[in-house]
């Protein structure tokens, strides 16, 4: 019988990674995700897996680059300032087609911002934050169980597409404790990583492997010129976009107003919807589980049904830009954001009551 344990969201990252067969964790301490690195320090070495505390987030992500080169399932985790430091090599991972998982537990920004929760890295996470216009899947869990489950999906999809993958959390999701059923999820079988570096004599064909992130400098037999590599990348990004879209709808039937939220604000929104529905107010939610690819189509369908939109997001407004793309300017899109926290501090949160008030104002 699967084990059910009471753990923090940050620890659920570790359990999910363990169940996915992750072999190496490389990270640097930063609040509010220190429980992640501490979990790996405690749990990985005794299981014969690799844990290294790096000297910086720049080093962490380059260790991931190295581990992924060897064909191993590897990951790192960080919060917003460290996320900024990692961008260059996330792009290198995309260029070298190295599968890896980066968990981002968002805190307040910009700059060093605050050490508490926020949702202010949406753009850099969903738009290929580093140089060169690559794309990556972004998974956005909203509970401890979903963190655990999506971590496993994250490793699977990273391997499937040979691409970096971002799991986007926030300080509240990382810090709250919930019951989580810890079990390994079975996915479709994937091909062996025949491309990985293991030493020439360890390859079945006895041929050496060369991997680099400069397709325009070093031609490879499979991509003899730069544009042929870009064609391949475009096809892969399109395939991810077409195949991997995931979202949840909640009470969207006959709704007059649709809330759009991810992470902790999706939990808050659900609570507000329950309160509103109890009063007979027709409101529902679209919760993107993949922030890239983004569920534009379902949003567009709801526009055609005459729905208005309200984005609930702990920032000055980033996710709202994607909702506006889906809406195509045909109806209003409102925001309950970081300025609507219950107290105007780094520790303030968006409360269900505030969301309910806005729902009633709009309907």
């Amino acid at each position: 019988m699967p084990e059910k344990i009471f753990i923090q969201g940050n620890e659920a990252v570790g359990w999910g990674a363990l169940n996915s067969g992750c072999q190496g964790y490389f990270g640097y301490p930063i609040t509010p995700q220190n429980e992640v690195i501490q979990w790996f320090a405690n749990e990985f070495p005794k299981r014969g897996r690799v844990f290294v505390q790096s000297q910086s987030e720049v080093a962490s992500i380059n260790m991931i680059y190295g581990g992924a080169l060897g064909g191993f399932r590897v990951m790192t985790s960080t919060s917003s300032p460290g996320w900024g430091l990692m961008q260059e090599t996330i792009s290198h991972c995309a260029a070298a087609e190295l599968p890896c998982v980066i968990v981002l537990v968002q805190r307040g920004g910009p700059g060093a911002g605050s050490v508490r929760h926020a949702q202010m890295d949406y753009m850099s996470a969903t738009r290929g934050g580093g140089q060169g216009g690559y794309k990556n899947i972004v998974l956005a869990p909203a509970s401890g169980q979903e963190i655990h489950d999506l971590m496993q999906l994250a490793f699977h999809l990273a391997d499937k597409y040979r691409n970096p993958l971002i799991v986007l959390m926030d300080g509240i999701l990382g810090q709250i404790s919930e019951s989580v059923e810890v079990k390994a999820i079975q996915f479709e079988p994937l091909e062996e990583k025949d491309w990985a570096l293991r030493g020439r004599n360890n390859h079945a064909d006895g041929k050496s492997r060369q991997i680099h992130s400069a397709p325009g400098v070093f031609p490879a037999p499979s991509y003899p010129d730069y544009i042929s590599w870009l064609r391949h990348a475009e096809k892969k990004f399109h395939e991810m976009e077409k195949t991997e879209l995931r979202y949840e709808t909640y009470e969207t039937e006959e709704a007059d107003l649709i809330l759009v939220a991810y992470g902790y604000t999706a939990r808050v929104s659900k609570e507000a919807i329950n309160m509103a529905r109890a009063e007979g107010v027709k409101v529902g939610m679209i919760r993107p589980i993949t922030l890239w690819p983004f569920p534009y189509k379902i949003i567009n369908e709801k526009v055609k049904q005459g729905c208005k939109f309200l984005v609930v997001e702990d920032s000055l407004g980033l996710l709202i830009e994607d909702v506006k793309i889906g809406v195509e300017g045909r109806t209003e899109v409102n925001l309950v954001g970081i300025l609507d926290r219950h107290i105007p501090t780094d520790g303030g949160v968006i409360m269900p009551g505030r969301v309910l008030k806005e729902i009633k104002r709009l309907l």
């Binding site: 290294v52 080093a59 380059n62 260790m63 680059y65 590897v74 293991r198 492997r209 060369q210 680099h212």
Partner: protein, 257 residues
Amino acid sequence: MNTEALTVTKKLVCGNPKIWKDPPGAMMYCPGCHHTVIYRIISEVLEELRIDGKAICMAGVGCHAFIAITWDIDVACCAHGRALDSATAIQRLNPDAIVFTVQGDGDCTAIGAGGFINAMTRGEKLTTIMYNNTNYGTTGGQLAPTTLLGQKTATTPNGRDPALEGYPIHAAELAATFKGTAYSARGSVHTPANYQRTKRYIKNAFQKQIAGIGFNFVEVLSACPPNWHLTPVECLKRIEEEVVPEFPLGEFKNEDI
């Protein structure tokens, strides 16, 4: 015409290392550059120690990376300055492999200084071969941490001034100060005798790595004729008269346990 006089008896006295592909990546270098010679030494050592089949090379960014990618061993090019970070992970995850980095002086001691220092702090079981040509060769001869005092570069047009750009970094001596370092040496290839000595240093480094003693570092002086604005022969003279006095050759650390 007597064609008989033009007939030459072909006898191979010294071929290319087996792990050099045909045509060798060495063809990519400027005339008189020493990088090719250093690659030849590494190739010979890998073959003589019979570790080329399980070697994984992590190259940095710079001229040194051009040939690495054409080697017939497993090779990756890393982000600029990050080869030692990436090497750390793959070596820890695959302890049976022989993971080593090739890096330029800028890659290792400027942009990659953090990775260099911390790999030694952790005592990673890796080998680093660092090419020191006293400037940034690939980008057109700018100031490097290793640039000599007074040396004119593209970004020090009046020569390196210690008041503005400080003093040359001595990477091999620095590496020797770390307890996690098993071996550190500086060699050169500007004479046949130095070629042989450098080969011994690089062999020592890999042997220490195989023995798992600690981190191993060999700095090798290299000529950069176009950016030094000298002929290949003049470069040999400069190494002997100007570079070696600043960067003394020899072993700085050689630990057996």
